[in-house]
Symmetry: C2
Subunit: 227 residues, 2 copies
């Protein structure tokens, strides 16, 4: 389903080029639950953005469900991002002038639902992450962990086949983290492919497979639990 | 040094008022190391902003080093914020069009140093948090954990008497977290008062005293280790 071969990402800022990803090859089958760990700056978010079709590699190939991502048109890419993939950003990326409900309703615009149905589904998603009382708050009127949960609700509202979650519990206390991880476990049971970046071993342990990244290279890729 | 009495903070968004802080009383002496824990939305960041003189309570009093904060002029407040307090924000609050070095140099503008001395001190601080190779990068060209470390460097560059750190290791891997906590331990040994919000028990354990917050109220306040 996800096939990365020799993926490279290089930034040129005028000084030394930064090799964010040196040569990354990775295959993830539908329905897998993969955790990615690595130190700060090792390339995890860069890798997630490429997998999520939000960024292009400088070298290497990426096939998503057998299709070469590089050969997709802008429209086809937008379609993939909107319908196939849900992305929880490390820094949430919420729209500041919309409230929580509007932020979560946005991805549903192309889902072919009536406005009433869109609002209902978004509201249900927010209640599921414990934000039933915060739907009318804009991001600046929400705590860090509440903003993170809006970002999670938004990523899930379109029922994506692949969930890319970049440190989805980073701003959450242990109780709330457990609730979110239970939600992800449920989605995984229903067939969602999950790729999760985390710094916390207690969170990584929910996955079946652990990939470690260091200086833009995969240093290990192991099954950590039976499916 | 820090005396909060019956502090209240209420937000009115049109619907039900939100009691972010209901009645918080807290005394912290110079040189203490206090951790604040509590679930997402319990009022931690709100409390930190009031202690840091970045926000005003709706009720109650706050004395900092014997002075009523409410009676300070705008200039006196700016002085306190700049010289006495270092703040590591939960979402970093870096200036997007300045690079890491410029962001860390900014608080030194009123420190009475020459431009060359300011740059030197800021650069040393960035090296101390492992970012010697990223000084010319702007926030959008830095990873999440790198942005967090710039925020930490900026908070410390003026050698503040009080460090307020709102989840300073939230975006860091365990190795980098340990390095940052060791740096804080060193500062504490030198006399810095530290107030640290964290979700992680492993981080809270560095403090001497643990305050727990729930729904805008302090539910416990315990010494957790001998100084
Ligand atoms: N500007 C605002 N308007 C309305 N409500 C607000 C505003 N800012 C914060 N709140 C609410 O006040 C409560 C406390 O927020 P605060 O940011 O202090 O929580 P927190 O303990 O830091 O949470 P977290 O661990 O998620 O960062 C939250 O329920 C939040 O929704
Ligand atoms: N636009 C950019 N220009 C230059 N360098 C960049 C840019 N974006 C990222 N980098 C660099 O690429 C490297 C990888 O960044 P990335 O965000 O993928 O790290 P990460 O593993 O997600 O780290 P963290 O755990 O801190 O979030 C970092 O060293 C970063 O400084
Ligand atoms: Mg990252
Ligand atoms: Mg907070």
């Amino acid at each position: 389903m996800i096939q990365l071969k020799n993926i490279e990402k290089i930034y040129n800022l005028g000084g030394e080029p930064v090799h964010a990803l040196q040569s990354v090859s990775l295959e993830i089958a539908a329905g897998e639950y993969v955790a990615i760990m690595g130190s700060s700056g090792s390339g995890k978010s860069t890798l997630m953005h490429i997998i999520g079709c939000l960024d292009q590699p400088d070298n290497g190939t990426y096939k998503l469900d057998g299709q070469e991502v590089q050969s997709l048109s802008e429209d086809e890419l937008a379609d993939v991002r909107n319908k196939k993939i849900g992305f929880v950003f490390q820094q949430f990326n919420l729209l500041p002038r919309m409230d929580a409900l509007e932020n979560v309703t946005l991805p549903l615009i192309y889902a072919g639902l009536t406005p009433a149905k869109r609002t209902e589904r978004a509201a249900n998603m927010l209640r599921l992450v414990g934000l039933g009382e915060r739907m009318g708050h804009r991001p600046s009127q929400l705590s860090g962990g509440q903003q993170q949960r809006v970002s999670i609700a938004r990523a899930l509202v379109n029922k994506p086949a692949v969930l890319l979650a970049d440190e989805p519990t980073g701003a959450l206390d242990s109780q709330t983290s457990e609730e979110i991880m239970a939600l992800l476990a449920e989605l995984h049971k229903e067939g969602t492919t999950i790729i999760l970046v985390t710094h916390e071993p207690d969170i990584a342990t929910f996955a079946h497979r652990l990939v470690k990244l260091k200086d833009g290279l995969i240093t290990s890729d192991q099954i950590i639990r039976k499916p």
